[in-house]
């Protein structure tokens, strides 16, 4: 029979979301439970009531990708401290969809891979959207961006990102409209100030919810780092993704005080 470690390893290797709960303080230190979405709980912390409560809490933590220490009574009682349980989520990597097979795309794919994203490049023009041009991408899709979003948009969540780099209204506008119907955490679109202003007019003409556009669309895409090259621009984009997630104002550390991370 497979050990708990073997089951954990196989799930992580297959990118199935699982959570490992380990007693780190209290009776049964080292005892473990492994559970995942659609995966039956394996192992025990030594008490059936404690197991039940921890499995419930661990699945909740897994859903938001959190890793933390939780405290319980010996039978899973809340607001007690007898048992400390380390709950470690192993969620699949976040997704980044990059629309537009342009110069900037290759650099963005590379930087996104450094940050651990699973990256899909999508462009309707098959001579540009090739695996040869984007060897670092996990997937290259020849299709209209909004049609890809219709297929996969349901799976996008707060950890994921959509970067629209085509700066062609024909592709951008339907892509942004489709992205706004998803729960994607970061949505950015490339273009000059003028292109971005025109795009807003077109989005409005297409009936976009302009309050949602204002709240969610990062355009021109990226932080104001003075980036010029594709590589620098890629860094400015992922820097904005990080700042959006953390809610930081993204000033230089030398001009701010307080914790650095």
């Amino acid at each position: 029979m497979a050990s708990l470690y073997d089951t954990w390893r196989d799930a992580v290797a297959d990118q199935r979301p699982v959570v490992l709960a380990t007693v780190i303080e209290g009776p049964g230190t080292g005892a473990k439970i492994l559970v995942g979405e659609g995966v039956e709980a394996m192992g025990t912390l030594g008490d059936p009531d404690l197991d039940r409560v921890v499995v419930r809490d661990a699945l909740g933590e897994l859903e938001s990708g959190r890793t933390s220490v939780r405290h319980y009574g010996p039978h899973g009682e809340a607001r007690e401290q007898a048992v400390a349980v380390f709950v470690e989520s192993f969620a699949p990597p976040p997704q980044m969809l990059v629309f537009g097979a342009v110069d900037f795309t290759g650099a963005l794919v590379k930087v996104a891979k450094v940050l651990g994203y699973r990256v899909t490049v999508c462009d309707a023009r098959e001579v540009f959207a090739t695996e040869r041009r984007f060897p670092d991408a996990d997937e290259v899709v020849v299709d209209w961006p909004h049609r890809l979003l219709d297929r996969v948009g349901e799976r996008l969540g707060p950890r994921d990102a959509v970067c629209v780099l085509t700066h062609d209204h024909k592709f951008d506008v339907p892509a942004i409209l489709a992205a706004l119907t998803t729960d994607v955490g970061y949505l950015g679109a490339m273009g000059s100030r003028r292109t971005c202003a025109e795009r807003l007019d077109r989005l409005e003409a297409e009936g976009a919810d302009m309050a949602a556009v204002d709240a969610r669309l990062h355009a021109p895409i990226g932080l104001d780092l003075g980036a010029r090259t594709p590589e620098e621009t890629a860094v400015a984009i992922v820097a904005e993704i990080i700042a959006t997630r953390t809610g930081r104002p993204s000033s230089s550390l030398r001009t701010t005080t307080g914790p650095i991370h």
């Binding site: 390893r9 992580v12 290797a13 780190i24 933390s68």
Partner: protein, 104 residues
Amino acid sequence: MKELIPDIERWRADGRRIVVARVVDIEGSGPRLPGAAMAVADDGEVAGSVSGGCVEGAVVSEALEVHDSGEARLVTFGYSDDEAFAVGLTCGGTVHLFLEPLDW
């Protein structure tokens, strides 16, 4: 811990015993988030990182003691006014680590 899988598999294939140290909690400015992990084989070979460098040596010593005793333990490194902790973190935070034999 998942980034340690290739090394752990190699050590297991060689029949070596393994201790895993995981960051479970940090207070203040911790260099690595909870979940960061290091594995230490019974011959002292190391994979992974838990602190960005400051306390790695001390973690390896603790791991070798866990190899000897077979007992999982919770250890804390960090700065404190009463100097209760043996090893400091230059970044000023406190890090709690759980070390255990990989026998599960």
